[in-house]
Every structure is written in structure tokens, then in C-alpha cells.
Symmetry: C2
Subunit: 630 residues, 2 copies
């Protein structure tokens, strides 16, 4: 409980963003949602230590999600050029000070997290591709591959160094965490039917898991909103519940006599063995205690093992499955960094082994492999990934011959679960209200046009604008992009010159290159600034409106916006189908999309579409009768 | 030579498109280049049998590339709803009659090809992702994954059925073709240095390979252009050369005495063993003959084997490497379906084993693993894939512990080779003159705007257009898209209504729903047609201009184009940077991009950009002084 309180206190008081898995947040960031302090250095700190405390406290949580978040935080830390606050800055890192390279760097960080967590370099690349990233380029494939190759080499060297056993639990199991590589697994029709059953049930249990996690999260968010103290109290409650289960449930189980010929290893001496005595007399062991009162890695290893089929009783597997399933659900959402992979794998493995033992004699495959397939079905049912899970499981277990079966189970469970609800990470993103842009347009968008959803009022600037007007607009609105319109005498008729960003306007105003009259000062201006002055700062960093010090005289002067205007903004005509505009917005990764009028003789811009204008809440709020097809 | 002539005759006389690997063509097709007969049923037929004849003839060619092409052809065959010519049609396949779904289907076909060729289901998905596909969606990941899972299950069942040995060579080696799974490979600093050397040299040899293949292809294309007979003669020449090498070079090698304790297996009795006697007396074997006069699969298995380090002499490996390297180069490009994977793996494996034996005593890793790393370095150096090659090699060899080293070698060889030239498939696409759209914009495009490269003359239609005008335009130009402009009285001023496709115009004209005057007949019209009438036909299929039979009276009538006009075409302003227009065009997978004027009072459309307008040849032809940065 002390460890639990430490983890909760760190999360509740220092960095609330560090609670939970972190994968949904990273996913949303890579989609373009620059959420507050999601990747801040304080979050990084709390994520690392909170995760250590949380896992040590015995919660049913994994370290994998937090490691992905940690990787992304480190990448962000480097991407914003270190931290001035902690006096860690490197000049060469300024090359990452733009949206695209920072996004790439954070994708690599997420890949590195998976690669390190599962010792699965290729799985890391695929996880980044399939789950984390919203935009993918071949250069990114190459970069993540490089990152995870480095991770693999480093992990391998560390394991080599730790071979002597000086590094505690690290390095156990070598490069392959749950090696089940065995003889050729032969299976026949009853096996295949059982495997399909596992897939279907795994899909149902997985989607039920997602549903319950969502409900629990909504309940917890009410409690958590009441303040940090309530967060800590909630953590203490869950910690008590977990301890009661872990130390109480094994009493329900009868002792099993040690397998013959294993007198040396059974019951286990030391803390982490396979046969724990618990309340049993010598020569006997408690099988539930052997998995419950063990590290999660060892528990999974025990469940996957195929050396002794009768190692775990049916009742043990059933109790463990139910306990882990519900503990996993109630633990996610408390103020502790908590990954979902390990609880899901544990529940899935015990369920798979249970089914394998239940059908027992009719099957050819051994129960260890059924445990693996059960884990695959649960992972497919909750997370809905395919290729990446397949490769992660392959790299975890080193059993290539099981690959076709794992693929089959993943396909079935994902298909079944997809008919009920969304993947758990997507659900959490939605629950947190993050404006995540889906890759496809919603069907109801086909009934609308781009002009329908433009929300006003539109604020535009002239090509050479009065300083006071700009300051007023910046102060009154939170907009990040403003259209610039060239008017006579700079053009024959009003025409759209381009788009200017808030951050660039602030740099421009800070430079104070103002003129008394409406004149073009472009070329002079460019000499004053360096390209890096306009580099994207870290989130929450950079110039603020309050940093500007503009005198009353200067307020009446003019500034030429042309040098900082993007003269090639992407535009759509107002009669463009909203679905197609949404595809354009999403595929090109835009933040602003200019809507221009179809007929001449009107102002040259109708409005600006941002991410929020495409959100179902906004569109359906404006047009409640447009039925969202499922 | 008879087999070679059969293969050549099939290729030269029936389907010239079936020659070569087929991967570049599939890659170009998935990029949007709908080349003539690339995926036609006749190509499919020739590809299958030509590949069988070509491989049996003993050419240094693989079956992997052709299998990818075969998979894509089968997918295309299904995608265009079977074939009316061969009386194989299915009505439900009409759902694939649109660009996107057909593209997806063909991507799945390519993935299935790799999955079947290497028995590598996940490798197939990644190959499709990394090398074949130009656009990627998560739905596609799921579909290719499903396809390759089915392939894996089917291949496994067939292997199970063939276990009794009734299926000839099929099924040898089980699901894992070149199993090298062994004890923990431990390596130290000299090993790592040797591996890096292999990577660097592999990159250099790989890029040299690409360079020479390109030169040879250009030479061959001059010969091949002279007619089918010359194609066959070229094939005969290469066949003679290959036979001379295969049966001549082993005479240069001294016989080796059989390893002790292997008297039963050495020299080999039968056709495909490890120790072939060739000219040697009993108790001796010829090691060069053992790899040269063998199936390529067995040759690779022998080179990867680590049971007997001295099995192959240094001189043998050197001669084999040089012979295969150059035979591989001169064989690609003759009129025979020829994959590149096997020649490259063979050359790489012999080179890796050569280096391993040369450095011999200082190394920890055995020569079989060095052969694997050599193959990886050559593959990386020629094909420049990363993740997919990594997984394909993993699934071929089942050695997870080698994964970090394979990644390292691939990274090094790709990096080294990329500094010299492009990947071999990209090079072939370029050499064939296919208008392949790169994912990124070229730097010189930033100096130009969209309006600069519009090539005229522009042909536009009115919203309600005279039949004769449409027919004239269709006859005079090869354009596939025409802008439709609404003019008074249908609008206040001329405005862009949308874009109409040639194929839809033909369907419209075939329907003969004409009117005497300029009136809107939209709603009536829609009742006449079914959505599937506008489905995309197979390439070369569908309505042609000659199929229309329009009388002179009808020529003077009007037809309402509105119902078939796409009223939401993507547009860019003429002053949009060409680089950004190119990104828009490529990312959204467009075929036509409308360029609209910036200032009012001009015709509502300036021009249409197509794929050809973005090609370097076109742009640099118009603006030769725009230096293409490398």
C-alpha cells in the first residue's frame, strides 16, 4: 500500500497526465491533438517512477503502455530541443522544431517503447504503424526500424552484461521472454474447432472488457474530478481489493501434490518459482498462489508452459481468470500509470488454458499453446490490432509454427469484437473528448457540403494590417490561423493571399518592424529574422501574447503580413462534399482548410475549417436530422 | 534448352508482359499506372507456365517475383468479374468494379504471392505494405492479413497432405523453408565488425548489381524490340551460357573426401542431395556441383547449413558467387518470367559464407549464419526493403535470435546502397518509362506553381451539351476527364460544375437520353440507369467510341451532363505551389486535379493536371533551367 500511495501521489499531485496507459494520448498526439502536458518532462518523470511503484505494488497493471508513453515523452523532450527549465538544451536538436519531424520522432519513441517492453523490435515498428501513427511514410518505416534495431542491440548487450544475475529480475528469459518453442505442433479438426471457439469467445470477452472499462472510467472520472485526495483514496481502495484477492483467493484452493521427480523444485524455495507452497505442507503446492503471488512475467511463463499439463487445476484457472479479468477492469483508470497488455494477456492465457484443459483429451495441442491462443484472442478482442500483435506474440514466444493459428484466432476475435464496439484505445480517446480525426469520412458527411459546417465569425487580415487590429484579434479569439486578404491598392480586387499563423504573427509583432503607412516592407523584414525564429516551440512554450510590449504609438502603425503568410494554403470550394473535404483534411494532415466561395463577387473566403468542425458532435449539433449511420 | 525455348516462346508470342519479375509492374499498377495487359488473363497463364519452364530449365531465376505477379493477376481477374471471353463470370464480383476495391484486391493478391512463395504470411503483408502499395489504409492491412492467413492455412494443409512424399518437391522442409534455428548464437566484437563489413560490402555489391541489371536491360531491350524470334534467340544464348557454367565450372574444383561418419549420405544417391559425386570417385564429392547442380532451394539450404563448416571450400564459394552474380544479371530481362529474390539470396549466401570462412577462426558465429547475413546484406543492397525483408528472412529461417543482427546488416547495406542508386524495382519502373508518382514532391517543384505546368488545349463541356460536340471531343483527344461548366441560363455567371469521365460519357451517350433543346433532364435520366452501369470495367474492356451508333439527327440534340458529373472535384488555385499540388495529387490518389483561376472575371477553370504533368520529364522539359536537386 505504501508503494501504491507513492505512485498515486506522484500521479495526483505532479502529473495527472501520467495516469493510465498513455497509448491513447500518444495516439491522439500523433493524430494532431497537441494536448496539454501529455508529453511534458514532468509526465515523463512520473510515468517512469509511477509505473515502477505501481507494478511493484502488485496492481494488475502492465509496464508496456507506460513504456510506450515514456518513449514518446523522451522523443518529445529531444524534439523540443531539451528543456531550458532543467538546463538541458542542445542546439542541433532545433532541426526537429517543426510539426512533421517532431511527429516522426515521437512515433519512433513509441516504437522504441514497444521494442523495449516486449524485446520485440519488429513488433515495435508494426505497433507504431498499425496503432500509434495516423500518417505513414516510407521514410518513417525506415526511421522506426532504425530506432528499434538500436533498441534491440542495446537490450541484448544489457542482457549479456546482466547474465551473471546482478541486475535483479532484468534479463530473465533472455531475449525471448516467454519461449514456448517446441516440437512441431500438430493439430486436427477438433483442435481447429476449439481454436475457433477460443477466437469467438475471446472476441466476446474482449469487447465486454472494453465496455466495462469504459463504464468504470466514466465512474472514476467523477471521483477523480473531486481532487487529488480522492484520487489517492481510490487507489488505496483498489490496492486493498487487489491484496484481498491475491492473498485471500489461494485459500479457496486445495493443495496439489508435487509432480514426481520434481522434489528439488517443489515447493519452491525463494520468491518467484513455479510451485509455491503458501499454506501447504511440504511436498504440496498451491497452484493459484503460484500464479497470483508472482511477477506477471513469471505468471505468464507458468501459464504458457507445457511441461506439466496438470500443473494448474480447472478451478484454479477459473478463479484466476475471473479475478484478473475484473481486477484489470477496476484497476485501469486509477491514478497510477497502468498498461493494459499484461492484464489482458494474463486473463487470456488463463482462459485459454482453461478451455484447453476442459476439452482435454480430444485435443492434440497442449494446454500451454492453448494459453497462448487464449492470450491472442483476448488481445485481438480488446486492442483490435492484427499484424503487430501477431509479430509481438511471435517475438515473445519464438514459435513460428504457431503463427497461422495465432493469425486465425486474431482474425476471428477481432471480427467478433468489432461487431460490438471499438478498440479499447479508440474508446479511451473518445471518452477523453480528444478530437481524433478518423481516417475515413462518416457516411452522413456525404449529405453535407463544406460550407454547411463553417462556424463563424471569420476574422481576416489585410495584407498590410494595422497593429491594433491584429492584437485585438489575437486577444479576442483563440484561433491559430487567420486568412490574409489582399485588397486594393495591392491587388485589383479582394483576393485570398494566404493563411497566417498565430505563432508567426507573435514573432512578427515582437520584431516590431512597423511602418507608419500601408506599404510593403517584405524584403527589409526578411533580413531581420532567421528561419529558426519561426521554428515550432515545445507545447506550452514559445511566445505568448503577454510577452509583447506594444506602445500606443505603435498600435496605430501598420505591419506587412506577406512575408509570414503561407501563400499556398489548401482550399476547397464551399459546395465541395463534406466527406471529400474531410478526406483532404485528414490525408494531408492539415490544421486549417480554407473554404472559398463558388460564385464570384463575394468576399474571397467563406470560412476556415479546423479539426473541430469535422467532429461528429459539431456536425450533428448543427444538423441533428442527419442520421449517423452505424 | 527445350524448356527454355518453351518459356521463351510463351513469353515472346503470347504475353510479352509476362517476362521479368512482374513486381515493378504490380508496383506501378498500384501507384495508378493502368498499363496495357499487365494483369490480363493471358499474362497470368504465361506467367505460371513460363515460370515453371524457366525455373526447370535451370536458369538463375526465382519463382517469387512471378508468384507475386501471378497473385496480382488472379486478383485482377476476380476484380474485373471474371472473364467473358473464357465464360467465367460471377455476378457478385461486380462489387469490386471500382478503382479502390480493385486496387485493394490486387494488393492482397501480391501479398498472397509472397506469403505462398516464402511460406511467410506476415512477410507477405509487410511486402505489400512496404514495396508494393502506394496508398495504405488500416482496412487494407486487415484485408491483406486475412488473405495471407488463408494462404498460410492452405499451404499448411497441403504440406500435411503431401507429407507422404507424393507431391514431388513440394512440401520439402515443411512450413519453414530454410530452418537454421540453432543454439543461442553468441557473438563478440570481431563478429560484429565482420557483420558490419558484410553489410557495407553487401550494399556496394547490391548497388553494383542494380547498376549492371539496368545496363543489361537497356541492351536487351534493343535486341528484344527486333521481334519475338530475337527474344527466343537471346533466351537460347543465355540458356547455353548458364549450362556451360553449371556443367563446366565444377570441373575446375578438386574432389573433397566425404566427411567421416557420413558414408551413407556421401556421395549422394539420387538427384538432390548435399554431396554430389559429379566426376569424383566413390568416397569423394564435388562441392561446387552440390550447389550448382541442385534446386535453388536445396542450394540455399546447403549454404545456410551449419552442420559441417568445411563442406564448401573457399575456392568453390568464390567461383559460385561470381558465376551466380553475373548469371543473375544477364538472365534478368530475357523473355522468361524471372524473379530476383533467389539469385540475390544465392549470391548473398555464398558471399556471406565466403567471408565467414575467410575470417574463420577469429569468429564465434558459424558460417551458416554468416551465409544468412550475407543473403540479408544482398537483399538489402538490391531491393532496399527493411521490415519486410527482415520478417521474410525470419519466417524463412526461424531464427529469432538472429533478428537484431539481420536488422543491423539490412540497415547498413541499405544505407550504403542508397547512396549510389535506387532500388532495383524502382529502377526498372523508371527504365520502362512508367509514370510512377513518388510519395514526396521534388525540390524543384517548390519554384513553380500549378498554373505553370498545365498543358493545353483545355476542352470543356457545358452543363447541357450538344451530342456532336461531345463526340468530337472524345474522338479528337485521349483525355479521360473533362471539366463541365455551367453557363447562363443555368447559372448567373460561368462557373465550374465539376468533372465528367470519358467512360461515364460513353455510357450516357449509349443510353441516348437526348433532348431537342437545352433542358435539364437529370431526374428522368437517373431512372434509366443502374449504378453498376457505371462500374469500372476491366482494363481494355468496357464501352468504346466505336460501339456508339449515333444518327445525324441525334448529333444535333442535347444531353444533360449533370447526372454523371462529379460535382466535388478537388481543385487548386493556379498560384498554388506545384510541390503542394503534387502532394495533394499523390496523397489523395487522384487522376485529375482541376486548376482554378485566382482572380475573378476569367473562365472558371485554367486547366487540368494529370499524372503526366507532374513527371520530371514534363516539368523539366517546360522549365529546363529549374535545376533538379539530387
Amino acid at each position: 500500500m505504501i508503494l501504491a500511495i507513492c505512485a498515486a501521489a506522484l500521479c495526483a499531485f505532479i502529473a495527472p497526465a501520467a495516469a493510465g496507459s498513455g497509448i491513447p494520448e500518444v495516439k491522439a498526439y500523433l493524430n494532431g491533438v497537441d494536448g496539454h502536458s501529455i508529453l511534458a518532462p514532468s509526465t515523463l518523470f512520473v510515468k517512469i517512477f509511477g509505473s515502477i511503484f505501481g507494478v511493484s505494488a502488485g496492481f494488475v497493471v502492465g509496464k508496456e503502455g507506460p513504456m510506450v508513453h515514456t518513449g514518446a515523452c523522451i522523443a518529445n523532450f529531444l524534439g523540443q530541443g531539451g528543456s531550458r527549465k532543467y538546463h538541458l538544451t542542445w542546439k542541433w536538436l532545433r532541426y526537429f522544431k517543426n510539426d512533421r519531424d517532431r511527429r516522426d520522432l515521437i512515433t519512433c519513441g513509441a516504437a522504441a517503447g514497444v521494442a523495449a517492453a516486449f524485446r520485440s523490435p519488429v513488433g515495435g515498428v508494426l505497433f507504431a504503424l498499425e496503432e500509434a501513427a495516423s500518417w505513414w511514410r516510407s521514410a518513417l518505416l525506415w526511421r522506426t526500424f532504425f530506432t528499434t534495431a538500436v533498441v534491440a542491440m542495446v537490450v541484448r548487450s544489457l542482457i549479456e552484461i546482466c547474465r551473471s544475475g546482478k541486475c535483479g529480475l532484468f534479463g530473465q528469459g533472455g531475449l525471448i521472454m516467454f519461449d514456448v518453442n517446441s516440437a512441431d505442433p500438430s493439430y486436427n479438426t477438433p483442435d481447429l474447432l476449439a481454436i475457433m471457439l477460443i477466437g469467438v469467445l475471446g472476441g466476446i470477452f474482449g469487447s465486454l472488457y472494453n465496455y466495462l472499462v469504459d463504464k468504470v472510467l466514466r465512474t472514476y472520472s467523477i471521483i477523480n474530478e473531486r481532487g487529488p485526495v480522492f484520487k489517492v483514496l481510490l487507489v488505496i481502495t483498489v490496492s486493498l481489493l487487489t491484496s484481498c484477492c491475491a492473498f485471500g483467493l489461494p485459500w479457496l484452493i486445495k493443495c496439489t501434490s508435487c509432480p514426481i521427480g520434481m522434489e528439488k523444485e517443489c515447493p519452491t524455495i525463494g520468491r518467484f518459482g513455479k510451485y509455491r507452497s503458501f499454506q501447504c505442507q511440504p511436498g504440496y503446492y498451491n497452484d493459484l498462489a503460484s500464479i497470483f503471488l508472482n511477477t506477471s512475467d513469471n505468471a505468464i511463463r507458468n501459464l504458457f508452459s507445457s511441461t506439466n499439463e496438470d500443473e494448474f487445476k480447472l478451478s484454479t484457472l477459473f478463479i484466476f481468470f475471473v479475478a484478473i479479468y475484473f481486477l484489470g477492469i477496476v484497476t485501469y483508470g486509477i491514478a497510477v500509470p497502468s498498461g493494459l497488455f499484461i492484464p489482458v494477456i494474463l486473463a487470456g492465457a488463463s482462459y485459454g488454458r482453461f478451455v484447453g484443459r476442459l476439452l482435454g483429451s480430444t485435443l492434440n495441442l497442449d494446454v500451454g499453446l492453448f494459453a497462448l491462443l487464449g492470450a491472442a484472442s483476448f488481445l485481438g478482442g480488446t486492442m483490435r490490432m492484427t499484424v503487430s500483435l501477431c509479430i509481438i506474440l511471435l517475438e515473445l514466444t519464438n514459435d513460428l509454427l504457431m503463427l497461422p493459428l495465432v493469425m486465425l484466432v486474431l482474425l476471428i476475435s477481432k471480427t467478433v469484437a468489432d461487431s460490438f464496439n471499438k478498440g479499447v484505445y479508440d474508446q479511451i480517446v473518445e471518452m477523453k473528448g480528444l478530437p481524433y480525426m478518423e481516417a475515413h469520412a462518416e457516411p452522413y458527411m456525404r449529405q453535407l457540403v463544406a460550407g454547411d459546417v463553417c462556424s463563424g465569425p471569420l476574422i481576416t487580415f489585410s495584407g498590410v494590417e494595422k497593429v491594433s487590429n491584429i492584437l485585438h484579434a489575437l486577444r479576442m479569439t483563440g484561433h491559430n490561423g487567420f486568412p490574409v486578404i489582399d485588397e486594393p491598392p495591392f491587388s485589383d480586387a479582394p483576393e485570398l493571399c494566404g493563411l497566417v499563423l498565430r505563432s508567426h504573427l507573435l514573432v512578427l509583432l515582437k520584431g516590431k518592424k512597423f511602418a507608419k503607412n500601408q506599404v510593403l516592407t517584405g524584403s527589409e523584414f526578411l533580413r531581420m529574422f532567421h528561419a529558426f525564429d519561426f521554428a515550432k516551440p515545445g507545447s506550452g512554450k514559445g511566445l505568448h501574447l503577454e510577452d509583447l510590449d506594444i506602445s500606443d504609438d505603435e498600435m496605430e502603425m501598420y505591419v506587412d503580413l506577406h512575408p509570414v503568410t503561407n501563400t499556398s494554403p489548401y482550399t476547397v470550394v464551399e459546395t465541395m462534399s463534406l466527406a471529400k473535404a474531410s478526406v483532404l483534411f485528414r490525408q494531408l494532415g492539415l490544421r486549417h482548410l480554407c473554404v472559398v466561395p463558388k460564385t464570384p463577387g463575394r468576399p474571397p473566403i467563406v470560412g476556415i475549417l479546423t479539426r473541430h468542425d469535422f467532429m461528429p458532435e459539431h456536425v450533428l449539433g448543427l444538423y441533428p436530422h442527419t442520421i449517423p449511420h452505424k
